[in-house]
Amino acid sequence: MRKVIAVFGLVSAIILIYLTYPFIALLLAANPNIIKEVMGIREALNALVLSLAAATTSTLILLSFGTPLAYLLARHEFRGKGLIESIIDLPLVVPHAVVGIMLLSAFGPRTTLGGLLKSLGLVIADSYWGIVAAFIFVSAPLLIDTVREGFASINIYLEGVARTLGAGPGKTFLTISLPLAARSVFTGSLLAWARAMSEVGALLIIAYYPKTINVLIVEWFNTYGLGYAIALTLVLLSISITTFVILRTVLRWRG
């Protein structure tokens, strides 16, 4: 048994080093002068704020539409359920650039639906809402699957007893199911937000403008080289990791 643990430990160490080393390499390669310079550039700050705002908006929209869907999937059996579950997980396997092309084909300005949305004042290509649309698409599986598992793990009688005590289905959902699944809802939102913050492939196709921080990193890498891209990456990474750590800590504390 000890031999097996030693071998497993060695294998685990290799993968952990592989995952950690790029972060260390990034820190080692950073030039403090360039970081200082980058933090004073207005374009970079605007891109960062845009990324944060769009990721938050997409997560809130996903929460509103994804939570009821997650509940239905967790609690009801119906024809076509397997198909719906596959559709939800599809974005996980679609290449990011393809997501951009798909969204452009569906909601681009030259499509019927895109034209209709435009007449309502909602332009998807190269707009804030284009960024949000891409974020929703790529992060939907993470939120819906996590929340669905949260609802599914609630003992069915916790809801059933509330019903027999006089609560209708809506009241039961709001007062029993949702609070009991709060931890999963929070985790799902966190994962969806983090996934949105990391997206770039789809944005390069559907919403290069206005520039999000990830698009700007790609642009600066191509224009000014690795030094500026690293500086910008470090700013984004520190904000993402700090937010992630704070939220995880809050989650643990509440748990």
Partner: protein
């Protein structure tokens, strides 16, 4: 009052078949049966948590078969009690009152009143996770009873408790039923629980109700014998003591029991093993056994090397006894034969 007529339910390959039951107002109906016969499914159907294929469920003569759970007035208490972990004990008990639009003060009074009755007044600000099994059971009962429902549906309410706590849980249920007078449908696999609590009973077997009526009647069925063996369960009332022997009235017949830890007037269930009964052709004299009574044989069944003799004593007492085939032949046992049954006071064990 709950009335079920010809209820059919399908759950995967399992079926509840043609269930008919009745619990009158104030009845404590116990549905007894082994695990896996559909007792919980039956309760879920009554509660409205499961759809039925056909049949009707009436509550106080109103057909509620198609009504959602919140409109039936039947409160379900599952085996795990299903206390909401995100609410305090107070929050759990006050929840149904809040649903009814009561004010904070009225809720406080009602919660405190029922908590007092159940002896949980000092637990109101605790979370369910900080309660013992017995305390959780009391909270679940308080939550179920606080709105004075038309009936409560109890699914094996003592199964999750440590065996040493079960008898006190039975006493609690019995005294609550006596004080509050609610109607209950209680399912259990435990014959001792059924015999202690039931004012009416039904035996369930393979998705069917095989018999409904008094406990003694349901225990005399072939299916109950298959499940419980042939042990006799006798319910009676303590009449007094005589030379440190307790006198128990069972359907008009007084039996002598070697136990005196019960109060006069207390209801008691006694178990009597069929191998502890001796059959005699004539009334014996000068024997140590204190219970000797004339009986009429009503049935004879083979039990491997033994023969099971069913006999009737007086109008309502029925007993089952084992004898060997040789003894049965020697006594010339046939149906309607008159015999004497004899057993010691120590053979009767309070359940």
């Amino acid at each position: 009052m709950i009335k079920v007529t010809n209820l059919n339910v399908r759950v995967g390959p399992f079926k509840l078949k043609n269930i008919s039951l009745m619990a009158g107002s104030g009845d404590y109906l116990v549905v007894l049966g082994p695990s896996g016969v559909g007792k919980t499914i039956l309760l879920e159907c009554l509660a409205g948590l499961r759809k039925v294929e056909s049949g009707k469920i009436f509550v106080n003569d109103v057909d509620v078969t198609k009504e959602p759970p919140e409109r039936r007035g039947l409160v379900f208490v599952p085996q795990n009690y299903a206390l909401w972990p995100h609410m305090s004990v107070y929050g759990n008990i006050g929840y149904p009152l809040k649903l009814r639009g009561m004010g904070k003060e009225e809720i406080r009074l009602r919660v405190e009143e029922i908590a007092e009755k159940l002896g949980i007044a000092d637990l109101l600000h605790r979370r369910p996770s900080a309660l013992s099994g017995g305390e959780q059971q009391r909270v679940a009962l308080a939550r179920a009873l606080v709105t004075k429902p038309k009936a409560i549906l109890l699914d094996e309410p003592t199964a999750a408790l440590h065996p040493s706590l079960r008898s006190s849980a039975w006493r609690l249920l019995k005294s609550l039923h006596k004080r509050l007078g609610f109607t209950a449908v209680h399912v259990t696999h435990d014959v001792a629980e059924a015999s202690y609590l039931a004012t009416k009973a039904a035996f369930m077997w393979e998705g069917k109700i095989v018999k409904e009526g008094a406990l003694e009647e349901i225990l005399s069925t072939k299916e109950a014998s298959t499940y419980l063996g042939d042990t006799n369960y006798l319910r009676g009332v303590v009449k007094g003591t005589e030379n440190e022997v307790m006198l128990v009235d069972i359907g008009g017949k007084v039996l002598r029991v070697a136990d005196h830890n019960f109060n006069i007037g207390e209801e008691i269930t006694l178990a009597l093993r069929p191998e502890d009964i001796v059959l005699l052709k004539e009334q014996p004299h000068a024997v140590s056994a204190m219970n000797i009574m004339p009986a009429v044989i009503t049935g004879i069944e083979a039990r491997g090397a033994l023969v099971l003799i069913k006999a009737k004593i007086g109008k309502s007492l029925r007993l089952k006894a084992y004898v060997t085939k040789a003894s049965a032949d020697h006594l010339g046992i046939k149906e309607k034969t008159k015999i004497y049954m004899m057993f010691k006071a120590s053979a009767l064990k309070p359940v």
